[in-house]
């Protein structure tokens, strides 16, 4: 979990940006700001904020339209969005929550409430990510157990038959190569079993959205 999560403030009011920036910076957050919703998707892709504070009423694109754009790409768990609204905008708040806003804060901004909501939604998002990772590890363990079982049986048969072949026909270069390959497979299976039992799985990136397990 990052100690200094990055918060993106999207607000057309320089004064409100100044206030939110001062407030969040004082509490250790890294703050980046946009004056409006134009280019928000590109900004999010490059800045990768942990959370967004999004003003509801802005001149060029309304906050709800910005929200709609963002939710087309990022789920509420991936990117928490807190709407910043005025007291008189309850209908818009309902619309924003229906569109996937995680929460809202009302102007005048209550500092304690704002900081608590930002912290809570950031923590929820981090927990969700951690749970995702746990589910991934669990899935890998299940897969390993299955593969171990499925590989071990034919492997045992292959080794046993190789030994029979050597007994009958004697050792050859071909049988030596098969023996080396089967021994390597057996060794990998042992390593996987050991690593899975001890939670020592190490992965490396292989391709986009694909990882491979690392072995000695």
């Amino acid at each position: 979990m990052s100690h200094f999560p990055r918060i993106l403030v999207v607000d057309d009011s320089a004064f409100d940006r100044h206030l939110l920036n001062g407030l969040l910076t004082a509490k250790g957050y890294e703050v980046v700001m946009l004056e409006g919703g134009v280019g928000v998707l590109e900004a999010v892709a490059s800045l990768r904020p942990a959370l967004i504070l999004l003003d509801m009423v802005m001149p060029e694109i309304a906050g709800t339209d910005v929200l709609r754009l963002l939710r087309g790409t990022y789920s509420a768990l991936e990117l928490p969005i807190i709407m910043v609204t005025a007291q008189s905008e309850s209908a818009s708040v309902v619309e924003a929550l229906a569109l996937g806003a995680n929460d809202y804060i009302v102007k005048p901004i209550d500092i304690e409430v704002t900081l608590r909501r930002v912290a809570t939604h950031h923590q929820l998002s981090e927990l969700s990510r951690a749970m995702g990772r746990l589910r991934e590890v669990e899935a890998i363990n299940t897969m390993i157990a299955t593969y171990n079982h499925e590989i071990n049986n034919p492997l045992t048969i292959a080794i046993w038959n190789l030994e029979l072949m050597i007994e009958r026909c004697g050792k050859s270069e071909e049988s030596r190569r098969v023996e080396v390959a089967l021994t390597r497979i057996a060794d990998i299976v042992k390593q996987i079993r050991k690593a899975a039992a001890g939670d020592e799985l190490q992965t490396a990136s292989y391709a986009p959205r694909t990882s491979v397990l690392k072995f000695k």
Binding site: D12, F15, H18, L19, L23, A26, P59, K107, P108, D110
Partner: protein, 135 residues
């Protein structure tokens, strides 16, 4: 010179807004408890931003850009509400609402009321800033 620069000839009645505080210094400071330096910074930022707020409203009104007036009044409403300046917030809200009706006369009247409230607010800001800085 005042940043607000209200039209002197305009007769503006803000008597119905008098029951709301110009600036609730205690509520403003209470919100920032433990962060007094930030509170002063925010108050100074508002003081410096006020002429721009007013100019944006004035130019939008002059151009009869009612949507612009509505948005600018809304933005100012948010700023003064964060200062706990309820009288100005109410006046900004009224301007925001009448701008939706696209009635120039109503907008000008609401704008003058807002300017009167902002003049009072501007006059009270040094009390907030001065008191805290002396402390």
């Amino acid at each position: 010179m005042s940043a607000v620069q209200r039209k002197q000839f305009a007769q503006v009645d803000i008597s119905e807004l008098r029951r709301f505080p110009v600036l609730d210094i205690q509520a403003f400071l209470m919100n920032f408890r433990g962060m007094e330096a930030l509170a002063m910074d925010v108050a100074r930022e508002f003081q410096q931003s006020l002429p721009q707020f007013v100019e944006t409203l004035r130019s939008n009104l002059f151009a009869r850009d009612y949507r612009g007036v509505e948005i600018a009044a809304h933005t100012l409403k948010g700023a003064v509400s964060n200062l706990r300046a309820e009288r100005s917030r109410r006046a900004a809200f009224e301007l925001e609402q009448v701008a939706q009706a696209k009635d120039l006369e109503l907008c000008e009247r609401a704008f003058q009321k807002l300017l009167a409230c902002l003049e009072e607010l501007e006059a009270n800001l040094p009390i907030l800033l001065g008191d805290r800085e002396r402390a």
